[in-house]
Symmetry: C2
Subunit: 200 residues, 2 copies
Amino acid sequence: MLLLDESELKKGQWAVPGDGLAGDEGFDDGAARILRALSRDTTAYMEQSRVTNELEHFNKGSLMTVGYFSTVSKKRFVINSSLYRQRILWWPLNQLPTLSLIHERLIRRAFVQLQSQVSKQPLGFYLLDNQFTIFQLQKLLERVLDKKYDRPNFRRKALATGLLEPLNVVEQDVSHRPAKLFRFNTEKYKLLERNFKFSF
Amino acid sequence: MLLLDESELKKGQWAVPGDGLAGDEGFDDGAARILRALSRDTTAYMEQSRVTNELEHFNKGSLMTVGYFSTVSKKRFVINSSLYRQRILWWPLNQLPTLSLIHERLIRRAFVQLQSQVSKQPLGFYLLDNQFTIFQLQKLLERVLDKKYDRPNFRRKALATGLLEPLNVVEQDVSHRPAKLFRFNTEKYKLLERNFKFSF
DNA sequence: GCAAAAGTGTTAATCGTACACCCATGA
DNA sequence: TCATGGGTGTACGATTAACACTTTTGC
């Protein structure tokens, strides 16, 4: 579930997408620019993760990396530039290709941070499409938090938040009773904001 | 509850203690060194907070600041060098002196992070001395999380964690019934570690 | 009919919360 | 004696967790 980019330095070496800062650009701005260069989806949640502990030394000077992570819907994620299109792949977190130690650590750290943010921000909703079933939301949280939930109970709790707006539309072409589709009610969330607690 | 250092640049200007990195020192190492330069207490919890978003530009080049926060017991905190002794003061978070915008933001951000770590790490215990009463722990969490708790209920919950080891000693010289003193059971905590949840 | 997930209902156990109440100490 | 916090008990309501059951779809 992670986006990786083929590095320019070595063939076949995968890396987290990144770039240097342009001019007097801030770090947050730089990270946003990198994400925009990859995809047209602008609804993503983004957060600074951590600075690599070590400086990388080159003959020209030293380099430090500031990690950011973002939650993007795989379906909404549309690769922007044809330049990148050939060099981007999604990888499942438990089957990452060989990475530099620095990038490996950035990813592990970002995932821990994502897990801890899930209950404080409606991250689950950023990861899904505009229309989703409650079961999809459940499966998502189960994967992020590595837990199992009881379906009926999860459903009630999710609905009890009042943040799921029914769309009066159902799934199509599924070999079981089709589920109602919902969307995340951004307006109601804005009202809660500070008091939000998605404690599953 | 915050340690601030008088800056060398301007008289009467307060700042978060900091320093540049020495040689090829890592960020965590640098932060630990700065803390050690201030105090002899080595039990402190320390965590990277955030990189300032803006680079500061000087004629010589650009400067970026990586924020760290640490929880230290005020009683155990012994100022190390006589050089610092004159220039260090504790300030309550709600009555900070005038600070640069960058330092102000670092502090606010670190406090939010501290609040969110309290339930995942036994931070409360780092902030107290080796011997403490349950009521002291309660008051500490109440200040950090800006909540009020019922004393009897807090007591039961704290004891239920199994992480408080009774010392069979009581407070001295208090004008009320003396409370039993406890210490944090580090060994038992090590066993939990990953599953630790101090949800008050 | 079968499998799979949708959705509703129900119950017991657990937990949070709000108190009442007695205890021990210094002033 | 009073004020202050220490410490135990308890009772009610809310929340959680477990699972039984009916529904709707595709194969």
